[in-house]
Point group: C2
Chain length 133, copies 2
């Protein structure tokens, strides 16, 4: 076998996702979002409504874009509403395909009720490849 070894079985999203993901409310301010991104050292925040259901995603890139356009609005005004998601029981290579084909760096992980249970990023997937030394 000459292929690069990741593991002997195909891991699932639930095996490598970050469970203690920071989320933000759609009604939060632009500044709240920037503060959360700084404090939590996350570049991607799933956005939820009052019922804690996923309604969007906000990234450091969106903050930077809002700065460039001088549009300092609420999270709901600058977030991406059409979110590509995954679930804990999806295979990692499917999640990697979704990241690639949608040109995004992170997928919120949701349960059947659209509640956010984690996040998986291309950083997490890249880690699978890091040679442990």
């Amino acid at each position: 076998c000459n292929s690069m070894k990741l593991s002997s079985v195909n891991p699932l999203v639930g095996d490598i996702m970050t469970s203690d993901v920071s989320i933000i409310q759609a009604e939060a301010s632009f500044n709240d979002a920037a503060k959360t991104i700084m404090d939590k050292q996350f570049s991607h925040l799933p956005v939820v409504d009052k019922d804690n259901s996923l309604v969007g995603i906000l990234t450091a890139w969106d903050i930077s874009k809002a700065v460039a356009k001088a549009e300092y609005d609420l999270v709901k005004d600058i977030m991406t509403k059409d979110v590509v998601t995954t679930s804990p029981d999806e295979a990692i290579d499917i999640a990697a395909f979704k990241l690639d084909s949608n040109n995004v760096s992170a997928l919120p992980v949701i349960d059947s009720k659209k509640k956010v249970v984690g996040i998986i990023t291309s950083d997490d997937i890249s880690k699978l490849l890091a040679r442990r030394q």
Copy 2:
């Protein structure tokens, strides 16, 4: 062989890096940086001095942090100066290890004269894993 197949040989950074990377001058303004990040759709900008040598890295996360702290300074004031780098002939799994162990999402690719010849991100590495369909 039960391992996930990436390719039959271990690819090099030079094989999958992005060569037409956008860079920014250390003396550029905060707003120039935000505009470049928006226009080029990149989250990570290698920062160069007047001789085009690498002196730092600036990311959308740094822009977001500057917003949170209300510090709208020059690129050189908000960039990360201690940059982890790679070279075109480094193996991908070493680059993945550097990303992981330094908790970063991108590595500028430099030549022997510290000139930036590309960038490699965890997105690029994650793509290796995406099942081509």
